[in-house]
Structure formats: structure tokens, C-alpha cells
């Protein structure tokens, strides 16, 4: 069974299923319990349905939110911690990087920390430099973590459930600009999208656009515009950044022999650098042109309408594709 739902509803549905089917699951974070139910209303109704003792409003204390999640997970609980806006995650960085990610290894498996941290990217709101960043690249650098960033309602639901019940700590990213995005969403319990599997969102023969999260939609829009000009782009939505599904990426690029990597994170030192490097190392002789990265400019994100001057737009992807695929036979 499937129905049309928004990503906001899909995430709510995943949290509801997790709370309903497992007594180990609980949620904690700032403002997330009813009646407020968070700044984005993603957790609406969950405290009323499952109790305020399982959907816990916390003080504004990100280190304590994630630290308490880590501690509870050491005892077999499956906490889902919310970082209201991803830019706040710096306060909790030590708990994620030095504790959640490393406890399994440092204890030789005697303790594990299977937490899920939901972090919301607010880019698109015009709120400015400290409320708009896409910081997934920080976490891709940490052995022991998994990093997930879905783009559709079905992926969001299936991946969030996989994340909550995964034995390792997962950073689950949500773009607030996608919360209203509608699409089909399976309604039956048990639906899962596996972590570490990319999804080809559009087939194409001429170039591969490797992307994830909200940039997936700009990549699809760019692909449609390019199609009108005779360039058929394949869009690979990574869905999981760590571990990276290289198999799917390389299979696509082996076919198209050209690649652009697009994301909302800053281009320099960003996730695209790793993807481009992996493609180049594996397929250097197959590539017709160097892999090009496109993302946010190397700048803090300015407020209000100026945001668009720095962040990724569909036009940036179109331009990058034309640069790489300019010589494509038409």
C-alpha cells in the first residue's frame, strides 16, 4: 500500500512506526513534543500518541541531548536525537565524533552506540550564515558514523527507519525546504530503504550527475532542461553518503564517461571532492573529461534573497554539465 505524502509526513510516519513497534525507541530534542511539535511540525502528534515520557522536550543543550542519547544507547535503547537546525551541531560534535562514532571500536565491540541524530538544514529560509549550512562533509570524515540524506518521501521514511534500527550511529539529514515535497510513500509497517544504496532517479546516456538531498531535485530539473538541448543526463541520488555506494556511481559513469557532482555543501573540501576522486581513481581511462564539482560558493551564506548568490541552483548544474558534456554529439 502506498499513498501520496509529504516528506514531513513521511518522517513523522517513520518516527511513529518506530515508537509504536519498539519500546527501545524514544525521541529527544528541543521543542519537539506537542503542542509545539518542533519549528517544522515534523513531530506533530507523536507525544500525544506515544507519551511525553517517550517524546522528550529538552533544554537548549545539544551536548547533553546527544550525550544522553549516547548513554541511553549503551544500555540498549534506540534514541533519536533531534538537532533543530544543523548549524547547532557544533555544540554536540564531541559526543558524535569522539563518543558515538568510536565507542564500538575503542571497546572492541563491548559497548555500542546505535543512536540516530536527525539534523535539519534550513537553507532556503534566508536566515543567514548560522542557520543555513549543509555540513554533511564534516561527518563523512569520521570512521564509525553513517550519513544519510534522502530526497523523496519514500526514501525519507525507509531510510529513517533503517537508521533508527541500524546497529551503528547514523546522522540523518533533512532539508527543511523539502518538507513539503510530495510523492508516493509506502504505508505498511516494515518498509525499509537500505543504508548504503544509491538510487538512479533518472536514466541518461550522456553524463552522470551524482547528487543527494535537495540537490537531487535541482539535478532532475537541470536534466529536463538539458534534454531539450539534446543532452541526456543520468541522475544518481546517493541517498547515503557514508558508506558511499560506489558500485552504482561507477556503473553509471562507466556508461556515460562523464560526471558532475552536485550538492548544497560548500564545493571546496566537500563531499563532491571525495566522489570525484573515487570516480577518477577507478575510471581515469574511461573519462572523456575531468569530473566537475558544483556546490555552494566558498562563503558564509548571506541573509534573505542574497542567499541564492552563494548557494547551489539549477543553473549551476546546467552550466557544469555543459562544461563537461559540451562536446556531446547532438
Amino acid at each position: 500500500m502506498s499513498k501520496k505524502a509529504t516528506i514531513r509526513e513521511a518522517i513523522n510516519s517513520a518516527l511513529d512506526e518506530a515508537l509504536r513497534t519498539s519500546a527501545q525507541v524514544f525521541l529527544l530534542g528541543e521543542d519537539l513534543a506537542d503542542p509545539a511539535a518542533g519549528v517544522n511540525a515534523v513531530t506533530r502528534g507523536l507525544a500525544l500518541e506515544h507519551g511525553h515520557d517517550r517524546v522528550l522536550n529538552t533544554p537548549i543543550s545539544e551536548a547533553a541531548i546527544v550525550g544522553a542519547a549516547v548513554g541511553a544507547s549503551l544500555e540498549g535503547m534506540l534514541p533519536v536525537a533531534e538537532i533543530m537546525i544543523m548549524d547547532f551541531i557544533g555544540i554536540a560534535m564531541d559526543q558524535i565524533v569522539n563518543h558515538a562514532a568510536k565507542l564500538r571500536y575503542m571497546s572492541a565491540g563491548r559497548t555500542t552506540s546505535p543512536i540516530t541524530v536527525r539534523a535539519v538544514v534550513l537553507e532556503g529560509s534566508g536566515a543567514g550564515g548560522t542557520h543555513s549550512q549543509s555540513l554533511e562533509g564534516w561527518f563523512m570524515h569520521i570512521p564509525g558514523l553513517k550519513v544519510v540524506y534522502p530526497s523523496t518521501p519514500a526514501d525519507a521514511k525507509g531510510l529513517l527507519l533503517s537508521s533508527i534500527f541500524d546497529p551503528d550511529p547514523v546522522l540523518f539529514m533533512e532539508a527543511s525546504r523539502l518538507y513539503g515535497k510530495r510523492g508516493p510513500m509506502p504505508t505498511e509497517d516494515g518498509f525499509r530503504i537500505p543504508i548504503g544504496k544509491a538510487d538512479v532517479k533518472r536514466q541518461g546516456r550522456d553524463i552522470t550527475i551524482v547528487t543527494y538531498g535537495p540537490a537531487t531535485w535541482e539535478a532532475l530539473e537541470a536534466a529536463e532542461a538539458l534534454s531539450a538541448e539534446g543532452i541526456e543526463a543520468e541522475v544518481v541520488d546517493l541517498r547515503t553518503l557514508l558508506p558511499l555506494d560506489l558500485e552504482t556511481v561507477l556503473a553509471s559513469v562507466a556508461k556515460t564517461r562523464r560526471a558532475v557532482v552536485a550538492h548544497h555543501a560548500v564545493t571546496f573540501g566537500g563531499p563532491g571532492a571525495e566522489v570525484a576522486s573515487q570516480i577518477t581513481e577507478a575510471l581515469f581511462n574511461e573519462l572523456v573529461e575531468p569530473v566537475v564539482r558544483v556546490g555552494a560558493k566558498f562563503s558564509p551564506i548571506p541573509a534573505r534573497a542574497s542567499e541564492a548568490a552563494v548557494t547551489l541552483g539549477t543553473g549551476d548544474i546546467v552550466a557544469a554539465v555543459k562544461k563537461v558534456a559540451g562536446a556531446v554529439r547532438v
Partner: protein, 331 residues
């Protein structure tokens, strides 16, 4: 010294035994390092043994403890086998964590030692989570988190104690105030006379005790543990003590005034508690000598076993990054 009549001779002996093992273990490791027998790194707790003795008696086996990189005495207190501690210090496969954690990161959940952290202040939020899990799991176990005076200046401390007090969680915060945050004296880092004063600001009791006296430290921690178990919320216990070996083994301690060190030595718990024990009608010199000899022998055997064990092999080094070995190239 507080009134030892409040405890039985076997309780007193058991605390002394933990203290002796802790002291013997650290001295044995320091001897090995200084003689060139082996190389390693430790952050000694020599001088803070009374707190370990107190914790060992105040906590039930199923109660939880989180400690820090300066935690070998706390590991002994919670009953982590000596060979597992020594193995971790030497990085060999008999260690609690197969030699992969090291001195700073010993975990032994079977003994309730859930985590040791290398990051000052970071144990407190995790301890709050352990206590939260006990509430979810309807268990009456209590979590103790131990840390130094320096940790109380971190944001993690303040976030954690506030959350624990607000949620009335079954956790006991035990500050081992050894008067130095790494190499800086406590009076240069705090504008208040007692760490325990910080408790008032979040609405929980704060107690300052003589951390060189295992009996009064035990009574304070035990009271806090009982309170936590009864559902009355957290307590901050400040045990004021001293650290004789500096921040790390080999620290020249140029920042500690000679007169302060001389004065502190007069309150060395290993000496003062021994004298106090001998005033007990049922405790004899022979009894204490036997405890000391046993501690030295057990420590020696543990260190020899740790030395003889191999380092973790290549397969072990690659294990436990994730639950499942991820396909090569995918990370």
C-alpha cells in the same frame, strides 16, 4: 578521619584492598615505564585512592560508573579484572578492549564500567543517558559519573547537571577535585570556593567532603546513591583530594609549590587510612600486611600477563569500526 565505627571491619578492609590494588597497579606501571621495561602513557590517580575505595563500597555491582582518562583507580573500584586494565594500558590483546582502547578508553560493561572518556567533561552527558535508560527500563540501578575539577568548567558539565536535575534522574556526580585542572590550579579557573556550590544553580544538593578520607567520602556518595535510587534525583559530591604524580606520568610538576606538595603528602590516604584502620579493634597489622601483599602479587601477575600477551592482530585492528565489515572501497 570520620568515625570508622559506622562501618564494619570487612567494609573497611574491602575499601582498603581496592585502594591498595589501585596504588600498586599505578606504581607497578610507573616502575615499568621508568625502568624501560615497557613504554606506555598513563594519567596517574595516585593520591586519589580514597575516592575509589568509597565508590567500590557505595555502588552495587549492577550500578554504572563512567570515569575519565585518570581512571585506573575507578576501574579497580568497579571490579574490572586487573589483567584487563593492565592489558589495555599496555595495548595488548588481554585488555578489556583487546588493547584497542588504551589507558583512556577502558570499558567493561559486565562490571558496569560503561565508559572512560579522554575528553574532559564528556562523561557527564553520557552518564545522564545511562540514568535515563534505567528509568525507561524500570531498573533501580544508579549511575555514578566521576570527573575532575577541570571538567566542571566545561559546557558539557553544565548542560548535563541541569538536565539530570530537571529530569530528576538517578545519577550521582562525583567530582574528584585534585586541585589542578591538568597543570592549572583550581583557584585560577573558578571564582567560587567549592565545586559543590555549582549544584545550587541547577537545583540539586551539593556536598563537599574530605576526599582523602574514604569513610566520609563513602558516606557522602552512599547517601547520594540512596537518594538517587529512591527517585529523589541527582547529587553533586565534591571529594577534595590531591594528585601526586602530575597530569601525566613524567610530568615534572613545576607548577606545584613544594610546600603544597609537602603538606599534601601528610594527607596521603594510603598512609592516613592505614593508621586509622589500625585503631580499629578488629584490624591488625598482619591483616593489613596480608591485603597489601595480595594486592602487590595480583598486580604483578596481571602486569606480567599483559606484557606476555600479543598486540591485537591485523584482523582485530580492522574489526569493530562498524557492526558489519563494510565492503572495501565503500568507505
Amino acid at each position: 578521619m570520620s568515625d570508622i565505627a559506622q562501618l564494619t571491619s570487612s567494609q573497611l578492609s574491602s575499601m582498603y584492598e581496592v585502594m591498595c590494588k589501585s596504588q600498586a597497579l599505578e606504581l607497578r606501571i610507573l616502575k615499568g615505564m621508568r625502568s624501560g621495561e615497557f613504554a606506555t602513557i598513563i594519567w596517574p590517580a595516585r593520591g586519589q585512592e580514597a575516592v575509589a575505595g568509597a565508590l567500590s563500597l557505595a555502588l552495587r555491582p549492577d550500578d554504572r560508573l563512567i570515569t575519565t582518562y585518570r581512571g585506573l583507580h575507578d576501574h579497580v573500584a568497579k571490579g574490572v579484572p586487573l589483567v584487563e586494565i593492565a592489558g589495555e594500558v599496555l595495548g595488548t590483546s588481554v585488555g578489556a578492549c583487546k588493547g584497542k582502547g588504551g589507558t583512556m578508553h577502558i570499558a567493561a560493561p559486565e562490571q558496569g564500567l560503561m565508559m572512560s572518556t579522554g575528553i574532559v567533561g564528556s562523561g557527564l552527558p553520557v552518564g545522564v543517558g545511562l540514568a535515563l535508560a534505567a528509568r525507561f527500563q524500570k531498573s533501580d540501578r544508579v549511575t555514578a559519573v566521576t570527573f575532575g575539577d577541570g571538567a566542571t568548567n566545561t559546557g558539557s558539565f553544565h548542560e548535563a547537571v541541569n538536565l539530570a536535575a530537571t529530569w530528576k534522574l538517578p545519577v550521582v556526580f562525583v567530582c574528584q577535585n585534585n586541585l589542578y585542572a591538568e597543570m592549572t590550579p583550581v583557584e585560577e579557573t573558578m571564582a567560587i570556593p567549592h565545586v559543590a556550590d555549582r549544584a545550587k544553580g541547577v537545583g540539586m544538593p551539593g556536598i563537599t567532603v574530605d576526599g582523602n578520607d574514604p569513610v566520609s567520602t563513602y558516606l557522602a556518595i552512599r547517601g547520594a546513591v540512596d537518594r538517587a535510587r529512591a527517585g529523589e534525583g541527582p547529587t553533586l559530591v565534591e571529594a577534595v583530594t590531591f594528585r601526586f604524580e602530575g597530569h601525566y606520568a613524567g610530568d615534572q610538576m613545576k607548577y606545584i609549590p613544594a610546600e603544597q606538595l609537602e603538606e599534601a603528602k601528610k594527607h596521603d590516604p594510603m598512609i592516613t587510612f592505614r593508621e586509622t584502620l589500625l585503631s580499629h579493634p578488629e584490624i591488625t597489622e598482619e591483616h593489613l600486611a596480608a591485603i597489601e601483599a595480595r594486592a602487590a602479587q595480583e598486580v604483578d601477575e596481571a602486569v606480567e600477563a599483559a606484557k606476555a600477551a600479543p598486540q591485537p592482530d591485523a584482523a582485530e585492528i580492522e574489526r569493530d569500526v562498524y557492526a558489519e565489515r563494510l565492503v572495501a572501497g565503500n568507505v
